[in-house]
């Protein structure tokens, strides 16, 4: 078992997903949205790996491709040694027990017509995980694990607050004793005081159940709090990857710097230079030539508008895609 401790739990290798849109008439032009473009990373055991970026950068698509809720175009996704991109439906179903997902919106992620008990019991019945008589006990155990009482089992989602629903969502993800959980903006829809409760719950579960997380969020402060390593995405590509202190204390890529400077820090004594920020995220249908960020970049050079920068490994697991470091 020596290898399994060193080997990453999840390895994503050159993952690519393009969406095709047809527009225009009578001569229709086919556009390609490179939602995820050549993305590679790994998630270690008992690690929370963050994926951060603004809306439309492709971070959620990565999460769904990893679970194959969306079929990737190319690239591999390894869960330990299994390449899940090559699995048939049968095999996929069994591997999905090892990988689960928590969704952003706690309101629409639970079927409003089914009780919490029904929602949680159904997967166990369908997959015949245990004897029918035990199901209820297991579900009650699980609910207590996520900080809900056994009494909620016959209630409907509308009787709960957002935070409680998210706990149910977490309980559902834990049903199969997964090894990896994709948390897609799992706390973004919650109020600040509830956010932290849920984050701590996830943290505790990580310790208790040896879980790993692929943690997708637009909120850099939350990522810094929750994750050990993080990748910053911009228009479908990774621009920088490293440990959270590396990325947020000494950002290398100008976009990482921009994001950091734009995130308001709850302290009026800190001056933040909001005035320097220019431009909007370009449409993913027609990203700029060369480095996607160069039109908004203060340090852009000639080459930036011509060539997309290569990925540069800087050691200690840190990498960046920027001509400034080439």
């Amino acid at each position: 078992m020596k290898t399994s401790t060193k080997q990453p739990l999840l390895t994503v290798n050159r993952l690519t997903k393009h969406f095709h849109i047809k527009r225009g008439f009578p001569k229709s032009v086919s556009y390609t949205v490179k939602a995820v473009d050549d993305v590679s990373f790994h998630v270690n055991r008992k690690e929370a790996f963050g994926l951060a970026g603004e809306s439309g950068c492709g971070k959620s698509t990565v999460g769904r491709c990893v679970l194959r809720l969306i079929e990737p175009d190319s690239g591999q996704v390894f869960l330990q040694n299994t390449d899940i991109t090559g699995l048939n439906n049968q095999e996929l179903r069994s591997i999905r027990k090892k990988m689960q997902i928590i969704f952003q919106d706690p309101y629409s992620s639970l079927n409003p017509r089914r009780t919490i008990g029904q929602t949680l019991e159904e997967p166990m019945r369908v997959h015949k995980l245990c004897e029918n008589d035990n199901i209820r006990d297991i579900v009650i155990d699980l609910l207590e694990n996520v900080g809900l009482s056994a009494g909620v089992i016959d209630k409907y989602p509308h009787e709960f607050s957002g935070g409680q629903r998210q706990r149910v969502g977490i309980a559902r993800a834990l049903l199969f004793n997964p090894e990896l959980i994709v948390a897609d903006e799992a706390v973004s829809a919650l109020d600040v005081s509830i956010q932290m409760q849920i984050l701590q719950l996830l943290q505790n579960l990580k310790e208790k159940l040896s879980l790993s997380y692929l943690f997708i969020s637009h909120d850099l402060a939350v990522v810094r709090y929750f994750c050990q390593r993080v990748a910053i995405m911009y228009l479908g590509k990774f621009v920088e990857l490293g440990s959270v202190s590396q990325i947020f204390d000494e950002p290398l890529h100008p976009y990482t710097l921009t994001l950091r400077n734009a995130s308001p820090i709850p302290d009026p004594s800190i001056e933040q230079a909001f005035a320097q920020l220019k431009g909007e995220v370009p449409s993913p249908i027609s990203p700029p030539q060369g480095c996607h960020f160069h039109p908004r970049c203060a340090k852009a050079k000639d080459i930036c508008s011509r060539e997309y920068p290569k990925w540069i490994e800087l050691g200690k697991g840190r990498g960046v895609a920027c001509h400034l470091y080439g």
């Binding site: 679970l67 809720l69 996929l92 179903r93 069994s94 999905r96 027990k97 689960q100 997902i101 969704f103 952003q104 919106d105 629409s108 992620s109 639970l110 079927n111 017509r113 009780t115 008990g117 029904q118 159904e122 997967p123 369908v126 997959h127 016959d154 409907y156 969502g169 559902r172 049903l175």
Partner: protein
Amino acid sequence: MNTIARFKHFGTETYHVFNRNKTSWIGLLLLTMLVLLAVLAPVIAPYDPVEQHIIQRLEPPSSQFLLGTDYYGRDVLSRIIWGCRVSFIIGSVSVAIAMFFGTILGSMAGYKGGYFDAFVMGVMDVLMSIPTLLMGLLIVAILGPSQANLIIALALTMIPRFARIARAPTIAAKSKVYVEACQAMGFSDMRILVVHIFPNIFGELMVMGSMWMATAVRTEAALSFIGLGVNPPTATLGGMIREGFKDIMSAPWASLYPGLVILLIVFAANLLGDGLRDALDPKLRNEK
């Protein structure tokens, strides 16, 4: 325990739906009375609907014939009661058939998407570009007028409507995150569709079922009026108007009363559907 809880929930939900909207109660009550009338026709009807009282032709309403007699001396009231039966059978069976096939087609198309969706909905679009009455007319003209053919004709015109009705909420439900959660749980498509999506479109289907039943009854009456309905001497409401129309000046009861009953049936079904829709609409739910 679980089933009981579910049943109770469903029961209270339905009760609340009705309670929220008084008009749906009235519609339901009216419709139930008319259905009872139709079901109990053999018991209630004072005369045999085809029995001709030759000497008492076109008699005005009297204590002997409560709503008068028609050109052949048949009791109008008895014919109306028996006619209701035909209307309800044709209306409900055709809607049931249309709902069954339409819902399957529509929700499959919505769930699968892609070329299957495009093909099915394309066919439905084509069927829908022929107006209901003309479609009914064409089919009955070709297959010949009979109760079964009328049902087939009406069901065919309504299948595309139900397919459309089932498709839209299926697509809406498909984009709901909990359906994605089901996929992540490794549920089969069939299970997701039947267990998780179908209950969401059930309410809308009931509303439309009620309203299209109204349309089916009306269309059946129209076809009978044109002369393409169930063959005489079977009593049908539309057919009675057709026969009574000739003598409308001298004996208006022979055609006006059956018309009133058609109106009543259609109105009751519409009222029920309308009330259900209001009650099921989440936007209006908090209004009262």
